[in-house]
Symmetry: C2
Amino acid sequence: MLTDRQLLILRAIIDDYIQTAQPVGSRTLSKRDDLTFSSATIRNDMADLEDMGLIEKPHTSAGRIPSEVGYRYYVDHLVEKQIIDERETGRLEERLKQSSKESEILIRQAADLLSDLTNYTTVALGPNSQMETLARVDFMPLDERRGVVLIVTDQGHVEHRTVMFESRVAPDVIEETIRLLNDRLVGTPIGQLKIRIGEEVAKLQLAQRQQYENMMQLIQSTVGIQTPSSLYLGGKKKIFNQPEFQTLDTLRPFLEWIDEQERLTHWLESLPNREIYVSIGSENGIVALQNCSVITSDYTLDGKTFGTIAMIGPTRMNYRHGVQMMGQIIEALRRTKLDE
Amino acid sequence: MLTDRQLLILRAIIDDYIQTAQPVGSRTLSKRDDLTFSSATIRNDMADLEDMGLIEKPHTSAGRIPSEVGYRYYVDHLVEKQIIDERETGRLEERLKQSSKESEILIRQAADLLSDLTNYTTVALGPNSQMETLARVDFMPLDERRGVVLIVTDQGHVEHRTVMFESRVAPDVIEETIRLLNDRLVGTPIGQLKIRIGEEVAKLQLAQRQQYENMMQLIQSTVGIQTPSSLYLGGKKKIFNQPEFQTLDTLRPFLEWIDEQERLTHWLESLPNREIYVSIGSENGIVALQNCSVITSDYTLDGKTFGTIAMIGPTRMNYRHGVQMMGQIIEALRRTKLDE
DNA sequence: ATTAGCACTCGTTAAATATGAGTGCTAATA
DNA sequence: TATTAGCACTCATATTTAACGAGTGCTAAT
């Protein structure tokens, strides 16, 4: 167990290191107003803290830096969660409201805002359309052999795909197929369209054989439509300002990783659903983010569960401020109404 | 005017420098099989080439590197344009064909392909939808006060926007408005929708006042739909392998610039329409691309003019190979049929 | 239990030195 | 006259050496 003084010293070391990115020495600490002990006393406590694995030194004659265990202790015990500053949240809500009522744009704006508030890179993942249900299928002819098939979800998302037919198709065949699709598939979760149609297709074979090929073509195109989750990166440049990323060895893996949209999406989707979750350093298990910490949170927009937002900074990130800003942003998003 | 030998030497210097990224000395050159002169002779010619501004030395005791003027001369006189290797083009066409028939995906694939062939970053700009004409407007209700308005262009591009009405709207009002929009606007270039509707709106005021607000809301939403040109970056990582971008001072501006989608789009759109155009070093006028050269070309897909593709590498780029690969890719794209 | 004092460690910086690739010029050669 | 061998000179880069100083751990005094 830590003594009060050790706690004070640990906190001071981390606070100082977060600000300066330099190892913190005992003399520096003893000069702080909130630490009244001599440097020797502090040194003794530092040795104890090091024995406990909370801090470490880069080399013999350097000051101490927090270890990952130290940061973990700091975040779990020394960061007060969820103090929502009503005034500030209101201001954020206001800024979000001004930008747009389009959910996609709102999310982007939120990510940018969070990035600007914290100076860390942010990633926002939109809703996973796989969960939404089909509201309607429609078709628009372009010419004799081409047309666009559209699907709309209950949440108002639209996806489309151009269909190319083998031969000229009679309008009523298309009409009938679309009607069939609407009859059978409306209300089906987007992710299950493909499976669902399999059950229905058998009945089709009884129908007119003549246009069978074209009908199947249209159906396959429809259920094959992908609904990609929208991903947005805010403040990618911010990383350039971090002292730990001033070398190519550290910068390159980070940039390469962050640019891999698909992997990023998977990662965000795989995160545990929580309010606000802090992953410190190598805890995240991603090699490219070894020296990064991540604050993630699911968010709701206008009450509905929506997606995930993440904030990525160096392990030496300002956890207190980060957690607080994250809390404010998701609260502001929660309060934002889409329809007024 | 350059003597034959000087030409040979200039070419050798540039070829060598392109490969090694190191200043080229007279002794190195004299050992090449294609240069039979002594190092002293080469030194004399080098001095002349330097006087003409074609090469320069980083410092007194270093070899020579090509100047921008030198590269320009090299590209204009020493790079043979447009030798299309039928075999290779066919292979590229094959690979493109396999990927998809969806134009968007084809373009991405082409950009990736070009990047892999050359090891430089590529940017592909899709067609500018502003030029396409409206083929159809449609509306799908979501609930009493919301719906999705869709527009389709003659090229099969679809854009949509969610509309939020002030009050409950009668289906027949919507139907009528949509019919009106289709009647008046089909065939109008997307870029001119807004202007065009102004002329029509006066007549509207005579119609039922009651639902005027909602009708206007629907119309405004429709003509306000943006059709962003699609932009795709291929091989962004490639820059990390270039020796001239191993330092943050050079890397950072490049990465920051390349990530600015909007600026990038504008830049590509502002380029002169040409088959293949090479911009060397500071010629492009962009500070962040001072040390980069760009090979750009408009391309056609399936015969139709489509967009612009660009290849960005260090000034010390392999122009011969780059120009050739660019030629092959746009030829392969030109031959690719969308509908078979 | 705390603190002053001191020897010791070791990364960082600066100066001193060595290395060598490459040049320009001059004089000899074909 | 054009080419080449020879040589002194330049200058970026790498290596070595020395000085510096922030910070530590330990011991003895308070």
